[in-house]
Symmetry: C2
Subunit: 152 residues, 2 copies
C-alpha cells in the first residue's frame, strides 16, 4: 500500500494533465510534496486523496487562492480549527446557493427542451409559443409560471 506514483501516473489516475499538477504544486495546493533523490515528484495514496479533495473544492467554485489559504491553515495545525470550520461552513452555503441557481437554470432549459420538441414536431416555433396554458403539460406550466417566461 505504499506504492509511489510519478507525476505521469498521478495525472493518469486523477484524469488531469501533468502540467496542471505542477501548476497546483507551484501554487501551494499540495502539502508536503515528496521528491525522489533526482528531483522527480513522488505521490502516495494520501497525496491522491488530497488532490481529489482539492478537485471537489474547485468544483464547488472555490478560488485557488482560498484553497491555498485553507491548506496553509491545515498545515498550521489544531490552532486553526475554528478558522477552517468557518471556511467549510461558508463553502457549504456557497454550494447550496449554487445548487439553487443551477436548478432554476435547469427548469429554464427544461422549458426550452419542451418548446423545441413541440416546435420540431410541428415545424414552427409558433405552435409552442401560442399554445394555450391549459394545453401545456403540468411541469411546463409550472416552470413557465415560476420563471416568468413570456415571450421567449
Amino acid at each position: 500500500m505504499d506504492k509511489m506514483y510519478t507525476i505521469g501516473d498521478a495525472a493518469a489516475e486523477l484524469g488531469m494533465p501533468a502540467s496542471t499538477i505542477r501548476f497546483y504544486e507551484k501554487n501551494g495546493l499540495i502539502p508536503n510534496q515528496q521528491r525522489a533523490s533526482d528531483g522527480r515528484r513522488l505521490f502516495d495514496e494520501d497525496d491522491l486523496e488530497w488532490m481529489r479533495f482539492v478537485e471537489r473544492l474547485k468544483v464547488s467554485g472555490m478560488p485557488i487562492k482560498e484553497i491555498r489559504e485553507y491548506i496553509r491553515l491545515y498545515i498550521e495545525g489544531d490552532s486553526t480549527i475554528e478558522e477552517r470550520r468557518r471556511i467549510v461552513h461558508e463553502r457549504r452555503a456557497a454550494i447550496d446557493a449554487q445548487l439553487e441557481e443551477l436548478k432554476l437554470a435547469r427548469d429554464f432549459i427544461e422549458y426550452k427542451c419542451w418548446f423545441y420538441d413541440v416546435a420540431a414536431e410541428s415545424g414552427t416555433c409558433d405552435t409552442p409559443r401560442n399554445m394555450p396554458l391549459d394545453e401545456l403539460p403540468d411541469n411546463i406550466r409550472r416552470i413557465k409560471a415560476k420563471c416568468r417566461i413570456n415571450r421567449y
Copy 2:
C-alpha cells in the same frame, strides 16, 4: 407596458454593471437592440426577459461563443429549429452532469463541516479523525463510504 429602459435602468433591473451589458451586446448576446435617435441603447421588457435567459445559460456554464451561436440561429428563424433543439438538449445534459458533480462536492463539504464541528468542540482534529465508524452519525458514515474518505 411599453416602458423603455436606459442601460443604467436595465443594469439596475438585472443587477449587473452597465459595462457588462455593453460587453454582451458587442458580443452578439442581445438581438435587435434598439437605439434612441441620439445613439443611446433602449431596452424593453422583452430585452430584459431575453437577458435573464442569457443569464440562465451562463449559470449553466454555457460559453459566450455558444450563446452567440444560439442567438444567431434564433434570428435565422424556423429553419434552425432542429439545431436549437439539439443545443438545448445538450445543455440540459450538461446541467445534469454539473448537478451530480456539485452534489458530490456538497457531500464532501458536509463531511468537512461535521469534522470541524467535532474538532472544534474537542479542540483537536484527532477526535473526528479517529472516531470509530459505529460512532459516526449515519449521514456522515454514508458519505465517508461513498466518497472513499480515509485520511483527510
